[in-house]
Symmetry: C2
Subunit: 420 residues, 2 copies
């Protein structure tokens, strides 16, 4: 178990290892083969055996709902995702919001255990296990005014600065409440989405919704780094839970200005359209120059493997830097941004062909940090000004959400905010 | 091997068995663990071993491009799908269409083997195996006029009759050329889609595109019947390749009016929106009454298991039929439709929330038959008039395509049409 070190070590474990190793439940926060409760959907007996064992494992993999942090931050990328924002209904305030969070938490706990939610459960997830379902809840800045909780609004929710290249659609940005759903099965994810929409009842309505995906479990024997729709290896530079200071960078420490956020994190969500038709016109060499990494294996152009540090000072035969001054890998390197650290955990999206005839596809960029002014903002400021990649992407929507810590036994998510 | 009997027996094999059984390649038409060619993406060594073996199998599963029938008809449902239609460019005729089908076939063969397509391969599928990718090509009625091949247009491509409940969008219906893509990994499917769009070059442009999904491999230990977004078990009534007359119902026999269609099939494609908000207002009992089957296991309301024949004559204590006169299971039963037989192989779709605030979700219905007038049409005529389910669905788009037989060695798909 040298690749896990604490109770949120799943990030370091390749999906392949994770799924191949049934015994690591305690260390990874992932419960595999646990019998579902009475009335549960899962039809798997214990840890499984015979020819369906490894496959049943995909379905049976369960992420606990309760813990120091909410699920959906440190778990491996899932194959299917939904992110959506809700606005509270006119007239709904703190009381209705508290009741909603209580309902949503109860539903999320059952969904993540692979159990039906109430008599009206639609049954879409039936026959499957939890499939690593995670449900994550957050609050947008507007939530606090709507609920009379302005004094408890963290300064970290101050609006993100405007970036010069932004082309944001306000209708698909921000929102009072944010929900992130991830699962390794599309029907399980859809079922969770529909269930939470129904549980919203008259208290809140969907403001925007986006669907995304990552690689399927078992599609590759490689580690969990994925590829984005430009074909680049993605996630290489992510901090690891074993890195010094990881917790301090990603999670809100006890003793902060807003005690209810202890153990929580801030999510920046950006719908980043990729201009794939333009991108595909570049040669492989040009694409690698824009990124500063090799496409095949993600290694920096200065050599080594995916995990080798880029040598930003290295010069080529012509005396110019091997990794160009405007290469994405240089601009986004932590050492170029005062050590700014965020945990990126994206989904790709593909909504068909846009009105312009080009693919409406790209990255549902989601990053996590204890303070967006120290994580996302300094990096994006630099990318906005000088990133060669910016000719090939377009930020179309943006959200910033306070994601409270995980619920303790008997608590619902956000209870420390809403009932303190 | 008692669950396979011929060279297209994969349909009968549960996905679980299929993935758990590495040795059945010859009988199933699925090549597992085959080393990819030089330059191929797949990094798996042989049939795999150790903790990643079963998982590598998901990635490494390969469907042959060549054979008596095109791929994507008899293979198990894949987790991700794209269906799209192209129209030939103005001025493009038979010559350009032949060159396009040659390019597309060459690309599809490489994609399905998990190999990069040319120097400009975007690399999105890299690191994964073929993931059971299938690419299937068809021709719409308009193709034959555009290419001067009207005498070779099969009568089976005559327009489908109008159904009273249809609300078809012509912009998302029909088209000169049809492409169906399925794979067990979203990036592999997306890569195939983009590659084929690029290979279309100036010869054809996308007319419409739809994205769909089914259950992920390993999400359930159950057989390959899936659930649709209404939560119903789907696919129970499908004919099996071992059924008497299966080939005659599904594939065009030799000696027909259009020899180039020998071994081919006709695909009816319908975008069926589900009015899920209305559906979810019904009680479980009401939903089961509409369908005539139990939701939990798909068994008919007259008893038994999923595969038990419905007893359409059985009366309840009140003297009325247990399976109602307008129940979907009754109306669609082959014995109620002169033995009409089609092979349904759908994807679910979910394109977010529509302008009406309701989920834009439902079924990408795809069915296969040797003659749509003997397969789809008689069943849909009855459903259109008397199906209780029709209050909860809306046919929004429709296409009918002639899908030629699989290419022999050295051939491209459609060569017998375009070069005869």
């Amino acid at each position: 178990m040298n690749d896990t070190s604490d109770n949120h070590g799943t990030l370091q474990i390749s999906r392949r290892k994770l799924l191949g190793t049934v015994g690591a439940a305690g260390a990874t926060g992932l419960v595999v083969g646990a019998a579902a409760g009475a009335g549960g959907y899962a039809a798997f007996g214990g840890s499984g055996s015979g020819d369906g064992a490894a496959l049943a494992t995909v379905g049976a993999a369960r992420v606990p709902f309760r813990g120091a942090h909410q699920a959906g931050i440190l778990q491996p990328l899932q194959a299917c995702g939904h992110v959506l924002a809700f606005d509270l209904a006119p007239g709904a305030g703190r009381k209705e919001a508290a009741a909603l969070m209580r309902r949503w938490s109860a539903a999320a706990e059952r969904l993540m255990a692979g159990e039906p939610v109430g008599d009206g459960d639609g049954g879409v997830a039936r026959d499957a296990g939890p499939c690593s379902l995670t449900v994550t809840f957050g609050f947008g800045a507007s939530f606090f005014d709507r609920t009379g909780l302005a004094p408890r609004r963290p300064r970290q929710l101050d609006p993100l600065p405007a970036f010069s290249a932004d082309q944001l659609d306000p209708k698909r940005s921000n929102g009072d409440l944010w929900v992130q759903i991830g699962a390794d099965d599309a029907l399980v994810a859809f079922h969770a989405l529909r269930t939470l929409q129904k549980e919203a009842g008259g208290a809140a309505a969907v403001r925007w919704q986006m669907n995304g995906f990552n690689r399927s479990p078992g599609a590759t024997a490689h580690p969990m780094t994925t590829r984005n729709l430009m074909g680049q290896v993605d996630g290489t530079g992510n901090p690891k839970p074993t890195d010094p200071g990881f917790d301090g960078h990603i999670f809100v420490a006890p003793g902060g200005e807003q005690p209810w956020m202890t153990g929580g994190s801030y999510a920046v969500v950006r719908r980043i359209r990729m201009l794939l038709d333009d991108w595909d016109k570049l040669s492989l060499k040009q694409q690698e120059g824009v990124i500063g990494r090799r496409k095949a294996d993600g290694a920096p152009l200065t050599g080594g493997t995916e995990t080798t540090e880029p040598d930003l000072d290295k010069l080529g035969p012509d005396g110019s830097p091997v990794i160009a001054a405007d290469a994405h890998a240089r601009i986004s390197a932590p050492e170029q941004n005062g050590g700014a650290t965020m945990l990126r955990r994206p989904f790709s999206f593909h909504d068909g062909i846009g009105p312009d005839g080009a693919p409406d596809a790209g990255l549902l960029f989601i990053c996590w940090q204890a303070d967006p002014l120290k994580g996302f903002v300094p990096v994006q400021r630099k990318l906005d000004r000088g990133d060669a990649l910016s000719d090939f992407i377009r930020h179309e929507a943006s959200g910033l959400f306070a994601v409270p810590g995980g619920p303790a036994e008997g608590e619902y998510v956000g209870q420390r905010l809403l009932e303190a």
